[in-house]
Amino acid sequence: MSILEADSNRLLQAVLALLKQKDILTDQEIAERIASTDSATPARGAMMVAKAWVDPAYRALMLRDGAQAAEAVGIPMRGLPPLGVLENTDTQHHLVVCTLCSCYPRAVLGYPPFWFKSAAYRARAVRDPRGLLAEWGTALPDNVQLRVVDSTADYRWMVLPLRPAGTEGWSEAELAAIVQEGDMIGVTLPTP
């Protein structure tokens, strides 16, 4: 039988047993990584976005080195790929896709939404991005350049959306509460 036909659970158990037998990983390390992956949610990214909206120094750090900015608010990034942060402005909007597979900044956004891995999203994000955004109810003015970022290699990307009007004087916690997963992928815009 080829490895492709093997029962995936039995294969996983066999690989885990080998990793432990060869002292490459311990049960504790595996449990810690699973707990860390499971505990990541879009609320982490939203917290970073809200902080960047109120703190110019943090914003600069986030744009220079997303992983350092994540670490600075207590998100563990050790051993993970670099995190790139894409800044939306009055004249440019970013949309993130991984056409090859499902690269996603899990440390700051958690598990990707089901549609992020779909062939339809991956194909249309590069071919008809404005049509795709329209279906999400996201209309970009004609003078805004759309930049589709195809995440193919060693970085993970998140979008730093524009702070919406009508949120003047809001606290960081209030701001974080309006930042949704899709806003940090670029399919939607935060709304107060």
């Binding site: 590069v126 008809d128 404005r130 589709v148 970022v149």
Partner: protein
């Protein structure tokens, strides 16, 4: 080393027709022309890592392509920006 603003072309190459391989360059970019935005760092070549071969450390770039030119549809000025390794890029 490539510099920001430099015009590049993605190799028109299809290694997958020559045998098993692992590729991080999407099909739709093969043979297309773009512009280097910035250097993203140096990384072990994933095409070698995938086969547990000792990897070379190579340069990774963010390269910008004109979105309507890639697909003959879309809005003028829109762009697709992609991470590409030096081994896939030729100076245009």
């Amino acid at each position: 080393m490539l510099t920001p603003g430099q015009a590049v072309r993605v190799k028109l190459d299809w290694p997958e027709t020559r045998g098993p391989c692992h590729i991080r360059t999407p099909h739709y970019l093969r043979g297309q022309s773009g512009v280097v935005e910035r250097h993203l760092g140096r990384f072990p070549n994933p095409e070698q890592l995938a086969f547990a071969r000792p990897p070379q450390t190579i340069d990774l770039y963010h390269v910008r392509f004109d979105q309507p030119s890639l697909w003959q549809q879309g809005q003028q000025g829109d762009a697709v920006v992609v991470e590409l390794y030096e081994t896939w890029l030729e100076v245009a």
